[in-house]
Amino acid sequence: MRTLLIALLALFAVPLAAQDSLPPAPYANRQIEDPALEAKAQELMETIRCLKCQSQTISDSDAPMAGDMRSQIRMRIATGEHPEVIRAWLVERYGDYVSYSPRITSLTWPLFALPVVLIALSLLLLRRRFRGKGDAS
Protein backbone atom coordinates (compact mmCIF):
# COMPACT_ATOMS: atom_id res chain seq x y z
CA MET A 1 0.00 0.00 0.00
CA ARG A 2 2.76 2.40 0.97
CA THR A 3 4.71 1.52 -2.15
CA LEU A 4 1.61 2.10 -4.24
CA LEU A 5 1.07 5.48 -2.63
CA ILE A 6 4.67 6.50 -3.26
CA ALA A 7 4.40 5.29 -6.84
CA LEU A 8 1.22 7.34 -7.30
CA LEU A 9 2.80 10.42 -5.74
CA ALA A 10 5.91 9.98 -7.88
CA LEU A 11 3.67 9.97 -10.94
CA PHE A 12 2.48 13.48 -10.15
CA ALA A 13 5.87 14.65 -8.97
CA VAL A 14 7.80 13.95 -12.14
CA PRO A 15 7.53 17.37 -13.81
CA LEU A 16 8.48 19.03 -10.53
CA ALA A 17 11.29 16.61 -9.79
CA ALA A 18 13.17 17.50 -12.95
CA GLN A 19 13.32 21.24 -12.29
CA ASP A 20 14.99 23.64 -9.95
CA SER A 21 14.33 27.30 -9.35
CA LEU A 22 17.87 28.61 -9.65
CA PRO A 23 18.65 31.01 -12.53
CA PRO A 24 20.67 29.40 -15.36
CA ALA A 25 24.48 29.37 -15.25
CA PRO A 26 26.16 32.55 -16.58
CA TYR A 27 26.80 31.31 -20.13
CA ALA A 28 23.96 28.78 -20.42
CA ASN A 29 21.84 31.02 -22.64
CA ARG A 30 24.27 33.81 -23.41
CA GLN A 31 26.73 33.83 -26.27
CA ILE A 32 30.44 34.51 -25.92
CA GLU A 33 31.16 38.13 -26.91
CA ASP A 34 33.66 37.03 -29.58
CA PRO A 35 31.65 35.56 -32.52
CA ALA A 36 34.56 33.37 -33.66
CA LEU A 37 34.81 31.74 -30.23
CA GLU A 38 31.03 31.41 -30.02
CA ALA A 39 31.03 29.59 -33.37
CA LYS A 40 33.64 27.18 -32.02
CA ALA A 41 31.60 26.59 -28.86
CA GLN A 42 28.40 26.14 -30.88
CA GLU A 43 30.04 23.55 -33.10
CA LEU A 44 31.10 21.55 -30.04
CA MET A 45 27.77 21.93 -28.23
CA GLU A 46 25.96 20.49 -31.25
CA THR A 47 27.88 17.23 -30.91
CA ILE A 48 27.64 16.73 -27.13
CA ARG A 49 24.78 14.63 -25.80
CA CYS A 50 22.46 15.96 -23.12
CA LEU A 51 22.62 13.46 -20.25
CA LYS A 52 19.08 14.24 -19.12
CA CYS A 53 17.32 14.13 -22.49
CA GLN A 54 19.50 11.58 -24.15
CA SER A 55 18.34 12.04 -27.74
CA GLN A 56 19.11 15.76 -27.73
CA THR A 57 22.36 17.64 -27.94
CA ILE A 58 23.11 20.10 -25.17
CA SER A 59 22.54 22.96 -27.61
CA ASP A 60 18.95 21.70 -28.16
CA SER A 61 18.06 20.86 -24.59
CA ASP A 62 16.33 23.01 -22.01
CA ALA A 63 17.41 20.77 -19.12
CA PRO A 64 19.21 22.78 -16.41
CA MET A 65 22.14 20.36 -16.56
CA ALA A 66 22.51 20.94 -20.31
CA GLY A 67 22.59 24.67 -19.51
CA ASP A 68 25.38 24.07 -17.01
CA MET A 69 27.28 22.06 -19.62
CA ARG A 70 26.87 24.84 -22.21
CA SER A 71 28.03 27.40 -19.70
CA GLN A 72 31.11 25.40 -18.81
CA ILE A 73 31.96 24.78 -22.47
CA ARG A 74 31.58 28.47 -23.37
CA MET A 75 33.66 29.60 -20.41
CA ARG A 76 36.43 27.16 -21.25
CA ILE A 77 36.39 28.04 -24.96
CA ALA A 78 36.55 31.72 -23.93
CA THR A 79 39.76 31.02 -22.00
CA GLY A 80 41.25 29.58 -25.18
CA GLU A 81 40.80 25.86 -24.57
CA HIS A 82 40.58 23.72 -27.71
CA PRO A 83 37.10 22.17 -28.34
CA GLU A 84 38.54 18.68 -28.79
CA VAL A 85 40.27 18.93 -25.42
CA ILE A 86 36.91 19.69 -23.81
CA ARG A 87 35.32 16.80 -25.70
CA ALA A 88 38.05 14.47 -24.46
CA TRP A 89 37.48 15.80 -20.92
CA LEU A 90 33.79 14.92 -21.14
CA VAL A 91 34.45 11.51 -22.71
CA GLU A 92 36.88 10.80 -19.85
CA ARG A 93 33.99 11.37 -17.42
CA TYR A 94 30.97 9.94 -19.23
CA GLY A 95 32.44 7.61 -21.84
CA ASP A 96 32.01 7.79 -25.63
CA TYR A 97 28.23 7.98 -25.19
CA VAL A 98 28.41 11.70 -24.37
CA SER A 99 29.85 12.54 -27.78
CA TYR A 100 27.84 12.50 -31.00
CA SER A 101 31.02 12.34 -33.01
CA PRO A 102 31.98 8.64 -33.02
CA ARG A 103 35.60 7.56 -32.69
CA ILE A 104 37.02 4.41 -34.26
CA THR A 105 37.63 2.02 -31.38
CA SER A 106 37.77 -1.75 -30.92
CA LEU A 107 34.00 -1.57 -30.36
CA THR A 108 32.97 0.76 -33.22
CA TRP A 109 35.23 -0.33 -36.09
CA PRO A 110 32.55 -2.64 -37.63
CA LEU A 111 30.39 0.46 -38.17
CA PHE A 112 33.07 1.86 -40.43
CA ALA A 113 34.17 -1.43 -41.95
CA LEU A 114 30.70 -2.80 -42.77
CA PRO A 115 29.82 -0.25 -45.51
CA VAL A 116 33.11 -1.01 -47.27
CA VAL A 117 32.42 -4.75 -47.04
CA LEU A 118 28.86 -4.31 -48.34
CA ILE A 119 29.97 -2.17 -51.28
CA ALA A 120 32.64 -4.71 -52.19
CA LEU A 121 30.10 -7.53 -51.89
CA SER A 122 27.53 -5.74 -54.06
CA LEU A 123 30.15 -4.97 -56.71
CA LEU A 124 31.09 -8.64 -56.76
CA LEU A 125 27.44 -9.72 -57.08
CA LEU A 126 26.75 -7.17 -59.82
CA ARG A 127 29.80 -8.29 -61.76
CA ARG A 128 28.68 -11.91 -61.58
CA ARG A 129 25.15 -10.99 -62.65
CA PHE A 130 26.28 -8.91 -65.65
CA ARG A 131 28.73 -11.62 -66.67
CA GLY A 132 25.95 -14.20 -66.48
CA LYS A 133 23.77 -12.07 -68.81
CA GLY A 134 26.63 -11.67 -71.22
CA ASP A 135 27.03 -15.43 -71.44
CA ALA A 136 23.32 -16.03 -71.99
CA SER A 137 22.91 -13.60 -74.86
Binding site: A25, L51, M65, R93
Partner: protein
Protein backbone atom coordinates in the same frame (compact mmCIF):
# COMPACT_ATOMS: atom_id res chain seq x y z
CA UNK B 1 18.82 -26.10 -63.65
CA UNK B 2 17.33 -28.00 -60.71
CA UNK B 3 20.11 -26.67 -58.53
CA UNK B 4 19.19 -23.08 -59.43
CA UNK B 5 15.54 -23.77 -58.56
CA UNK B 6 16.54 -25.17 -55.21
CA UNK B 7 18.49 -21.99 -54.44
CA UNK B 8 15.58 -19.71 -55.42
CA UNK B 9 13.11 -21.72 -53.31
CA UNK B 10 15.38 -21.24 -50.32
CA UNK B 11 15.70 -17.52 -51.12
CA UNK B 12 11.88 -17.22 -51.15
CA UNK B 13 11.86 -17.55 -47.36
CA UNK B 14 14.55 -14.96 -46.83
CA UNK B 15 12.27 -11.86 -46.62
CA UNK B 16 10.04 -13.62 -44.09
CA UNK B 17 13.07 -14.64 -42.05
CA UNK B 18 14.36 -11.05 -42.06
CA UNK B 19 10.90 -9.78 -41.07
CA UNK B 20 10.74 -12.29 -38.20
CA UNK B 21 14.18 -11.14 -37.16
CA UNK B 22 12.98 -7.53 -36.97
CA UNK B 23 9.94 -8.57 -34.93
CA UNK B 24 12.22 -10.49 -32.58
CA UNK B 25 14.47 -7.45 -32.20
CA UNK B 26 11.53 -5.14 -31.47
CA UNK B 27 10.00 -7.54 -28.93
CA UNK B 28 13.30 -8.07 -27.14
CA UNK B 29 13.75 -4.27 -27.00
CA UNK B 30 10.32 -3.91 -25.41
CA UNK B 31 10.74 -6.77 -22.93
CA UNK B 32 14.31 -5.98 -21.89
CA UNK B 33 14.80 -2.26 -22.34
CA UNK B 34 18.38 -1.06 -22.46
CA UNK B 35 19.92 0.52 -19.38
CA UNK B 36 19.71 4.28 -20.01
CA UNK B 37 21.86 5.27 -17.05
CA UNK B 38 25.08 6.96 -18.04
CA UNK B 39 27.70 5.47 -15.72
CA UNK B 40 30.66 7.57 -14.68
CA UNK B 41 33.95 6.50 -16.23
CA UNK B 42 35.83 8.13 -13.35
CA UNK B 43 35.91 4.96 -11.22
CA UNK B 44 39.49 4.38 -10.13
CA UNK B 45 40.43 7.98 -10.83
CA UNK B 46 40.99 10.77 -8.30
CA UNK B 47 38.37 13.38 -7.52
CA UNK B 48 38.86 16.58 -9.51
CA UNK B 49 40.07 19.68 -7.66
CA UNK B 50 37.16 21.70 -6.33
CA UNK B 51 36.23 23.95 -3.47
CA UNK B 52 32.55 24.60 -2.81
CA UNK B 53 31.04 27.09 -0.36
CA UNK B 54 28.73 25.87 2.39
CA UNK B 55 25.17 25.12 1.27
CA UNK B 56 23.65 25.70 4.73
CA UNK B 57 24.87 27.68 7.77
CA UNK B 58 25.13 24.63 10.06
CA UNK B 59 27.57 22.62 7.92
CA UNK B 60 30.93 23.58 6.37
CA UNK B 61 31.53 23.63 2.62
CA UNK B 62 33.30 20.90 0.72
CA UNK B 63 36.62 20.62 -1.08
CA UNK B 64 38.80 17.86 -2.52
CA UNK B 65 41.08 18.08 0.55
CA UNK B 66 38.21 16.84 2.73
CA UNK B 67 38.54 13.42 1.12
CA UNK B 68 42.28 12.81 1.37
CA UNK B 69 42.87 12.16 5.08
CA UNK B 70 42.90 8.37 4.79
CA UNK B 71 39.28 7.69 5.71
CA UNK B 72 36.90 6.36 3.04
CA UNK B 73 33.64 8.27 2.74
CA UNK B 74 30.43 8.55 0.79
CA UNK B 75 29.80 11.50 -1.50
CA UNK B 76 26.10 12.07 -2.02
CA UNK B 77 24.96 14.24 -4.93
CA UNK B 78 21.50 15.57 -4.12
CA UNK B 79 19.10 18.49 -4.42
CA UNK B 80 16.14 19.69 -2.40
CA UNK B 81 14.03 19.80 -5.59
CA UNK B 82 14.64 16.12 -6.27
CA UNK B 83 11.91 13.75 -5.07
CA UNK B 84 13.94 10.52 -5.08
CA UNK B 85 16.48 12.34 -2.86
CA UNK B 86 13.76 12.67 -0.21
CA UNK B 87 12.89 8.96 -0.60
CA UNK B 88 16.55 8.11 -0.10
CA UNK B 89 16.92 10.15 3.12
CA UNK B 90 16.05 7.34 5.59
CA UNK B 91 18.64 5.09 3.95
CA UNK B 92 21.32 7.79 4.23
CA UNK B 93 20.49 8.19 7.94
CA UNK B 94 20.82 4.42 8.30
CA UNK B 95 24.24 4.53 6.63
CA UNK B 96 25.33 7.35 8.91
CA UNK B 97 24.13 5.40 11.96
CA UNK B 98 26.20 2.44 10.74
CA UNK B 99 29.31 4.61 10.88
CA UNK B 100 29.59 5.93 7.34
CA UNK B 101 30.69 9.55 7.01
CA UNK B 102 28.71 11.24 4.26
CA UNK B 103 29.71 14.42 2.47
CA UNK B 104 27.23 15.97 0.10
CA UNK B 105 26.99 18.28 -2.88
CA UNK B 106 23.74 20.20 -3.33
CA UNK B 107 23.09 20.75 -7.03
CA UNK B 108 21.52 24.02 -8.22
CA UNK B 109 19.91 24.75 -4.89
CA UNK B 110 19.00 27.65 -2.59
CA UNK B 111 20.22 27.80 1.01
CA UNK B 112 16.70 28.13 2.42
CA UNK B 113 15.45 25.19 0.33
CA UNK B 114 18.32 22.95 1.44
CA UNK B 115 17.72 23.94 5.09
CA UNK B 116 14.05 23.09 4.80
CA UNK B 117 14.83 19.80 3.09
CA UNK B 118 17.29 18.81 5.86
CA UNK B 119 14.85 19.83 8.57
CA UNK B 120 12.12 17.76 6.99
CA UNK B 121 14.07 14.64 6.05
CA UNK B 122 17.03 14.70 8.47
CA UNK B 123 20.64 15.68 8.01
CA UNK B 124 23.08 12.76 7.72
CA UNK B 125 25.76 14.95 6.11
CA UNK B 126 29.02 16.12 7.71
CA UNK B 127 29.78 18.69 5.03
CA UNK B 128 27.57 20.10 2.29
CA UNK B 129 28.99 21.97 -0.69
CA UNK B 130 26.85 24.23 -2.85
CA UNK B 131 27.25 23.60 -6.58
CA UNK B 132 25.17 26.12 -8.51
CA UNK B 133 26.51 25.34 -11.98
CA UNK B 134 26.89 21.54 -11.63
CA UNK B 135 30.68 21.96 -11.93
CA UNK B 136 31.56 19.19 -9.46
CA UNK B 137 28.79 16.99 -10.84
CA UNK B 138 30.27 17.24 -14.34
CA UNK B 139 33.76 16.81 -12.92
CA UNK B 140 32.99 13.41 -11.39
CA UNK B 141 30.89 12.13 -14.29
CA UNK B 142 27.58 12.21 -12.48
CA UNK B 143 24.55 12.59 -14.73
CA UNK B 144 21.73 13.19 -12.28
CA UNK B 145 20.46 13.33 -8.73
CA UNK B 146 20.60 11.42 -6.48
CA UNK B 147 23.89 9.64 -6.95
CA UNK B 148 26.22 8.30 -4.29
CA UNK B 149 29.96 7.78 -4.77
CA UNK B 150 32.32 5.78 -2.58
CA UNK B 151 35.58 7.73 -2.21
CA UNK B 152 38.59 6.00 -0.64
CA UNK B 153 40.99 7.58 1.84
CA UNK B 154 43.25 9.05 -0.82
CA UNK B 155 40.42 10.70 -2.76
CA UNK B 156 40.05 8.02 -5.45
CA UNK B 157 36.50 7.35 -6.70
CA UNK B 158 35.83 3.65 -6.07
CA UNK B 159 32.14 3.14 -6.76
CA UNK B 160 29.13 4.96 -8.18
CA UNK B 161 25.53 4.27 -7.22
CA UNK B 162 23.04 5.80 -9.66
CA UNK B 163 19.60 6.73 -8.35
CA UNK B 164 18.23 6.55 -4.83
CA UNK B 165 19.61 3.99 -2.39
CA UNK B 166 16.84 1.49 -1.63
CA UNK B 167 16.56 -0.03 1.86
CA UNK B 168 17.81 -3.38 0.58
CA UNK B 169 20.89 -1.73 -0.92
CA UNK B 170 22.21 -0.28 2.35
CA UNK B 171 24.36 -3.36 3.24
CA UNK B 172 25.83 -3.35 -0.28
CA UNK B 173 26.87 0.31 0.04
CA UNK B 174 28.44 -0.41 3.44
CA UNK B 175 30.30 -3.33 1.86
CA UNK B 176 31.63 -1.05 -0.90
CA UNK B 177 32.75 1.41 1.75
CA UNK B 178 34.57 -1.36 3.59
CA UNK B 179 36.20 -2.49 0.34
CA UNK B 180 37.49 1.06 -0.17
CA UNK B 181 39.26 0.84 3.18
CA UNK B 182 41.60 -1.84 1.89
Amino acid sequence: MSEGQKASRWALWLPLAIFAGFIGLAVSGLLWPADRNVASTMIGKPLPQFELPAAVPGRPGLSTADFTDGKPRLLNVFASWCIPCALEAPQLSQLEAAGAEIHAVAIRDRTEDVSLFLKRYGNPFTRIGKDDISAVQLGIGSSGVPETFVIDGSGIIRYQHIGDIRPEQVPMILEKLKEAQR
